[in-house]
């Protein structure tokens, strides 16, 4: 039994088996219609139990275990796969298995009437397999493999209702954006491998020897080369966690069904970026330039996303931008060295953001696929549980004292004290977060119902997971903050000698909480019952700013413009070049041969005497040629 628990690589295999069964079963029509849920939920539950058993069996001092076997051998290069489990890995494992379990239960209710029910669960199982394998991967190569697998499963799930052209476009866009990130990661891996080519004691690129490799690479490549490599690797997380330059796919990803938005685009996949930074911390920490870049990318993303979220009218898009903003926080935390704080916020964010998305899901479900907040309102009366859980989530995310958001987010803001500018951004963004979160809360649940369908509370199978998620999103921050005598989060998860003296710094936390409350008051004034400040008037007064925010800082238009005016013309030009020039040359040679054939043919004009003239003319010319040559 013990060695069964030991080989932890079984955890990702359960969803893979479930995936295979569903695919083959449904194709051959053996499996009953709605049996997808049972299989997938069962496999995830098995994974959760296995993780907990492994955690308990892992022993007091949680020594990281790394096992790997050769996967692809060529010449002097042997790429291998296996599993590597350490504190961060265990954290991610717990989050992924628990959140996905609850979401899968919720999906049964949400997708029950959808014809693609079993296909959806198959994709879910595939996603679980790739996410769990990513978390457990023992070396950077394996992580890259499952990095792309996760990208593909998000492509499949976003484009689940592929008959809708917007969903299809969003899926392709998401995959391409991730592909750009993967390109950066791949190049980074290649450069790393180039500089540490025959140094690797164990399997190549394995995480256990990563710090040694980092030193060797720094030594071989020199500081500039090393920084470039680090930034290249950072390109991966930028795409995956939707950081600034490569973020436009996340809001469009909301085309997918809501459980997906909850699972992938809130809790697990987008967090993979941060997880990669955590895994590659030894590489990043060496180059200060890389760290600042990471911090600043995180900070800017947090701020920009928050500003855009203010103007959003679609509830899911608002939540998507809030996820982007929170991810910005995590990346900033990583950038400034607050390894533990970043991961802590990752965990708490996973719970309450998943819950928020599920609430929005049940709202949409209730209002019969209505996503525009302007057509909602006053749902408090119709959906009390959803409203309550949504409120808990909103409070958690804004970082009000007892709830988990406070501990993790404010810890990050506290840790960013050392860089004043970032600290300012952090605090302001905290305020903005509170404003737009409560704005969405008031617009959907307060005031009178503006839509024309009659909303109803979602069934039990959907609100139980909501409640189940509400508990950790409320209490887990407090539990692990170290205040209650329980070992604090840092105790479990930390990176070597922690660069920043962590532990809650209450003064800073108080400041950020006050900003949050300010944002709440402002939202209450504008959207709450008094409606003292009318949003329309604000829009007109600050119209240029509003336009900027409404158009999502023109990123989308910029990308679209580049695609349309740069790449397509290049492609068209090369297509034209290919058709006319290269084919032209071929055609030209053929026609010259033909024409010369025609010309020589007319030489044969039918008169014997002209033939004889050529006969003797040839003799004469040959004579001259010979006299000249010989």
């Amino acid at each position: 039994m013990t060695e069964l628990i030991q080989n932890i690589w079984l955890i990702p295999i359960y969803p893979l088996i479930a995936f295979a069964i569903i695919v083959l079963g449904r194709w051959s029509k053996i499996l009953p219609q709605k049996s997808g849920a049972a299989l997938v939920v069962g496999s995830t539950f098995l994974g959760l139990v296995h993780t907990l058993l492994f955690l308990s069996a892992w022993g007091p001092h949680y020594e990281p275990i790394s096992v790997s076997a050769p996967w692809l051998h060529a010449g002097s290069l042997t790429l291998s796969m296996g599993y590597y489990i350490d504190a961060a890995g265990m954290l991610m494992l717990l989050i992924v298995t628990s959140v996905s379990l609850l979401i899968q239960i919720y999906t049964h209710g949400y997708m029950y009437h959808d014809p693609g029910y079993s296909r959806f669960y198959a994709y879910l199982a595939l996603f679980n397999f790739s996410m769990l394998s990513l978390v457990l991967s023992s070396n950077l190569f394996q992580m890259y493999v499952f990095w792309e697998m996760v990208g593909v499963s998000s492509y499949l799930l976003i484009g689940f209702w592929f008959t809708r052209p917007s969903a299809a476009a969003a899926a392709t866009k998401a995959f391409l954006m991730n592909r750009i990130g993967d390109f950066g990661l791949l190049t980074g891996i290649l450069v790393l491998l180039y500089f540490t080519w025959n140094w690797w004691p164990g399997p190549v690129l394995s995480f256990t020897d990563m710090s040694g490799a980092a030193q060797v690479a720094l030594h071989a490549a020199g500081p500039v080369g090393f920084t470039i490599m680090a930034l290249l690797i950072f390109m991966g997380p930028v795409a995956k966690s939707a950081q600034i330059p490569l973020h436009t796919w996340l809001p469009d990803a909301m085309e997918g069904p809501t459980p997906i938005s909850a699972l992938i685009h809130a809790a697990t996949m987008v967090a993979a970026g941060v997880f990669l930074i955590a895994r590659m911390y030894p590489v990043f920490t060496i180059s200060p330039v890389a760290m600042t870049v990471i911090a600043w990318v995180g900070g800017i993303t947090a701020f920009v996303a928050a500003t855009i979220a203010i103007t959003q009218v679609d509830i899911k898009k608002a939540l998507a931008y809030s996820t982007m903003s929170q991810l910005g926080y995590m990346v900033m935390a990583m950038g400034i060295g607050a390894y533990a704080a970043g991961l802590f916020h990752l965990m708490t964010h996973a719970f309450f953001k998943a819950m928020l998305f599920l609430c929005s899901g049940s709202v949409i479900h209730g209002c019969h696929d209505e996503q525009d907040m302007r057509k909602m309102g006053g749902l408090w009366k119709h959906m009390p549980i959803t409203a309550a859980t949504y409120l808990v989530g909103t409070i958690a995310i804004t970082g009000v004292l007892p709830f988990s958001g406070f501990w993790s987010k404010d810890e990050i803001i506290g840790a960013s004290i050392s860089q004043p500018l970032l600290f300012a951004i952090g605090v302001v963004t905290a305020g903005l977060t509170a404003f737009y979160m409560f704005r969405t809360y008031f617009m959907t649940f307060h005031g009178e119902y503006r839509g024309h369908s009659h909303p109803h509370e979602s069934p039990k199978v959907m609100w139980i997971p909501l409640v189940a998620l509400a508990i950790p999103s409320a209490l887990i921050g407090f539990a692990l903050s170290g205040q209650l005598g329980l070992p604090s989060f840092e105790h479990f998860v930390h990176y070597g000698v922690s660069l920043v003296e962590n532990g809650p710094n209450f003064a800073v936390m108080g400041l950020s909480m006050s900003f949050a409350i300010g944002g709440y008051v402002l939202a209450w004034l504008m959207y709450g019952s008094p409606k003292l400040i009318s949003p329309e008037r604000l829009k007109t007064t600050f119209s240029p700013l509003y336009e900027l925010l409404w158009n999502k800082w023109y990123f989308d238009n910029a990308y679209f413009w580049i695609a349309k005016n740069v790449y397509l013309p290049f492609a068209a030009l090369s297509a034209w070049f290919d058709r006319t020039i290269i084919d032209g040359i071929v055609g030209l040679t053929a026609s010259t041969v033909n024409a010369s054939g025609g010309a020589l043919r007319t030489l044969q004009n039918g008169r014997v005497q002209s033939y004889l003239m050529i006969f003797f003319g040839a003799i004469l010319t040959l004579a001259i040629v010979l006299m000249w040559i010989v």
Partner: protein, 104 residues
């Protein structure tokens, strides 16, 4: 004037050969063309007999060669005329310009 040597004959045959050549290339009438071919063959005959006379007196192979040329060219001329008659019956003209049906 001076003794008649081999080169007089060679010069003579070349001139005759060239006249025949010119005749063949330029004549419009097929019969005249055949005549000019005969001229050229005769030029060769003179050449051979001259060589035989000046180069190798005691072996008359040159003259025998010219005898064969004589007979064969006669045969060829007669066949030529036969063909010309056959063509004339069809085209009722002996004008070389008209015989360019087969071309390109």
């Amino acid at each position: 004037m001076f003794n008649i040597g081999l080169y007089h004959y060679i010069a003579l045959t070349t001139i005759l050969f060239s006249i025949g050549l010119y005749g063949v290339l330029s004549s419009r009438n097929a019969i005249r063309l055949l005549m000019c071919i005969e001229l050229m063959l005769n030029a060769v005959n003179i050449n051979l007999v001259a060589f035989n006379n000046y180069v190798n007196m005691n072996d008359l192979s040159g003259q025998i060669f010219s005898i064969f040329i004589l007979t064969v060219s006669a045969a060829e001329a007669s066949v030529g005329l036969a063909i010309l008659i056959a063509l004339y019956r069809r085209r009722s003209t002996a004008d070389m310009e008209r015989f360019n049906l087969l071309k390109w």
